[in-house]
């Protein structure tokens, strides 16, 4: 199939379909106002949110903020002035309820701003609201939210993936111009895949975790989820950079995208699973072929069996969760620990167990050594290639109800992204086709630690050659 399309001549776009780049341009050229686009998005939210359950909290100051942005436009040259975004509900937003989609925090109103949202606000961004997620980010479906699942805009009998399912669905359904999510192991890339949007999981440490409700502190990575990679880069350049409030941030003040010579692509044969849903592997192979035809050097590589990464992530994540969730005692804020859902309790308990005396060496210390092995494995293949490509998920979006009774649903769904998360590597998921009855398929591109540039260059090229990222669901 020949994907070399010429830029399509698009009819005049309605405001809610615009990308961040188009919105910024349109606002600065006074083609429309921030109030107009914000109003349109808010009315769409009013129309669709009850069914899709994307926003946990809608920001009732959004329209006022849009008005102010319009008033300041002539003297305020901020990069995102008056651009309405959606923020995953694990980012603390000052004065705007933040729940992590848990009943424990149902009435929590933060008194400070996360670094990510502060940087966006400093550039004039408006927040339409806080998006639904798996409670405490414990999942890959958004079905474990204490506020009900978000529905996939492509097929509302299906899940959007998770844990950043609300943000992914908001972007797919044009209920925001762009969104912010976070990933511990798959939580940006997998919902981006299931919802047909572009998700960037930066290198661990590239974006500050200050003010992000912690899940697994050694892998949590905030990142943008957008209608295309160009928008993702735009947001990443704003939110990335060293933060004195997060000691684990990479010591580079700024990050900005820079293209270079064409990266060498390694196609990970072990990630094209035999048991993948029919159509997935074929679609991704075809996508890689598009890149090959356009001049990319594509070589086969082999990585450690992903089953080791699953076990590794299972242990380390739960251990860190048990520690991070110990602070929720209902005394200083929130409700007490009886308000935790089942999944949270299970994860806290496993984490407690594997860190406890007598089991610590056998589980936790062993898992940290396996992490070293995983990192070494990546280093080995990165001596011959610059980026790795594979399917993001072994399936397209699964039906609502799929997570019930499946103890390790998340870990199994994220099998193809856990290893890179444990190693802290940067990666993206971009739409690359459809399968399973018209549901989006995602391709993941992963790079060396701190080498977002190679990953993004390949992703940008792919989006120049194809139009999958332009497809939208019919609501």
């Amino acid at each position: 199939m020949d994907f070399l399309l010429f830029p399509m001549f698009l009819p005049k776009m309605t405001l809610h379909e615009l990308t961040i780049t188009e919105t910024v341009k349109g606002l600065s050229e006074k083609k429309f106002s921030s109030v107009e686009i914000t109003k349109e998005l808010l009315s769409r939210i009013e129309k669709f949110n009850q069914k899709l359950n994307i926003y946990v909290t809608v920001n009732d100051s959004a329209l006022n903020e849009a008005k102010k942005a319009d008033e300041e436009r002539s003297k305020n040259k901020s990069k995102l002035l008056g651009v309405p975004l959606a923020i995953k509900d694990n980012f603390l937003t000052n004065g705007l309820r933040t729940t992590a989609s848990s009943n424990v925090l149902s009435d929590f109103v933060p008194q400070f701003e996360s670094s990510v949202t502060k940087r966006l606000k400093d550039q004039g961004a408006i927040f339409l609201g806080k998006t639904n997620m798996d409670a405490w980010a414990h999942g890959s479906s958004t079905e474990t939210s204490d506020y009900g699942p978000t529905l996939n805009p492509w097929d509302t009998s299906r899940l959007p993936g998770g844990s950043s399912g609300g943000s992914a669905a908001a972007v797919a359904a044009d209920l925001c111009v762009g969104a912010i999510g976070s990933e511990t192991a798959g939580s940006i890339r997998q919902p981006a895949c299931w919802c047909g949007v572009s998700g960037i999981k930066p290198s661990y440490g590239r974006v500050s975790r200050y003010g992000v409700i912690a899940m697994a502190s050694s892998t949590d990575s905030p990142g943008p989820m957008t209608k295309n990679i160009e928008d993702g880069i735009f947001l990443l350049e704003i939110i990335a950079g060293h933060d004195v409030r997060d000691a684990t941030t990479i010591r580079e003040d700024k990050w900005s995208y820079k293209s270079g010579k064409k990266p060498v692509i390694g196609i990970v044969t072990d990630y094209f699973l035999k048991e993948a849903q029919p159509g997935i592997n074929k679609t991704v192979h075809e996508a890689i072929n598009v890149l090959k035809q356009s001049g990319y050097d594509v070589r086969e590589v082999s990585l450690l069996d992903p089953k080791f990464a699953i076990a590794d992530y299972t242990i380390i994540q739960r251990a860190e969760v048990s520690s991070n969730l110990a602070r929720y005692d209902g005394i200083r804020y929130g409700n007490d620990r009886t308000y935790f859902g089942q999944e949270a309790k299970r994860r806290i308990m496993i984490g407690t167990y594997v860190l406890s005396a007598g089991y610590h060496d056998q589980f936790y210390r062993k898992a940290q050594k396996i992490r070293t092995k995983i990192i070494e494995d990546f280093n080995r293949v990165f001596e011959h290639v610059d980026v790795l490509v594979a399917p993001t998920s072994p399936s397209t979006a699964l039906p609502v109800g799929s997570t019930k009774g499946v103890a390790m649903f998340g870990e199994l769904q994220d099998v193809l992204v856990e290893a890179s998360s444990m190693a802290g590597l940067p990666g993206v998921s971009i739409p690359c086709g459809f399968a399973g009855g018209g549901m989006p398929v995602g391709m993941q591109i992963t790079g060396k630690m701190k080498d977002e540039n190679s990953v993004l260059q390949v992703a940008l090229d792919f989006q120049k050659l194809t139009d999958f990222h332009l497809q939208k669901p019919e609501l």
Binding site: D107, F108, V109, Q111, F112, Y204, G205, S218, V244, A247, T248, I250, R251, K307, F308, I310, A311, D312, T314, I315, S322, A326, G330, I331, R332, Y333, G334, R337, T338, F340, Q342, K345, R346, I348, M349, I350, G351, T352, Y353, V354, S356, Q362, F363, R365, K366, A367, Q368, K369, I370, R371, T372, K373, I375, E376, A407, M408, M422, A423, G424, M449
Partner: protein, 103 residues
């Protein structure tokens, strides 16, 4: 690693360590679920790791400090704003000592 089948007694103990109050229904339901998860990670044994140290964080950074300067922090009002139980500018906390120490 031998099979780690957890007993309900184990689950109860873990619950206590994790400061979670579990109903007997939950203890009964969780025990096989927790066992399943623990058993699933047995696969780690198949990958020898005697030749490596653990990686606890992937950035390679160590000893990151800042100057010990006092910066603006919360006001008392801000700090108390989400507390359900407060008294005279204090957080009200549960009893630490029980009347008869049978806890």
């Amino acid at each position: 690693m031998k099979k780690q089948t957890l007993t309900q007694e184990d689950t109860k103990k873990i619950g206590k360590l994790a400061n979670l109050s579990l109903s007997s229904n939950e203890i009964e339901k969780f025990t096989p679920q927790l066992s399943e998860t623990i058993d699933s990670v047995e696969v780690m044994d198949k990958l020898p790791t005697n030749d490596v140290d653990g990686t606890f964080q992937v950035t390679g950074l160590t000893n990151i400090f800042r100057e010990d300067n006092i910066e603006k922090s919360f006001t008392q009002e801000e700090a108390l704003s989400n507390a359900k139980n407060k008294h005279n500018g204090f957080f009200v906390v549960p009893y630490v000592f029980a009347e008869d120490d049978t806890a």
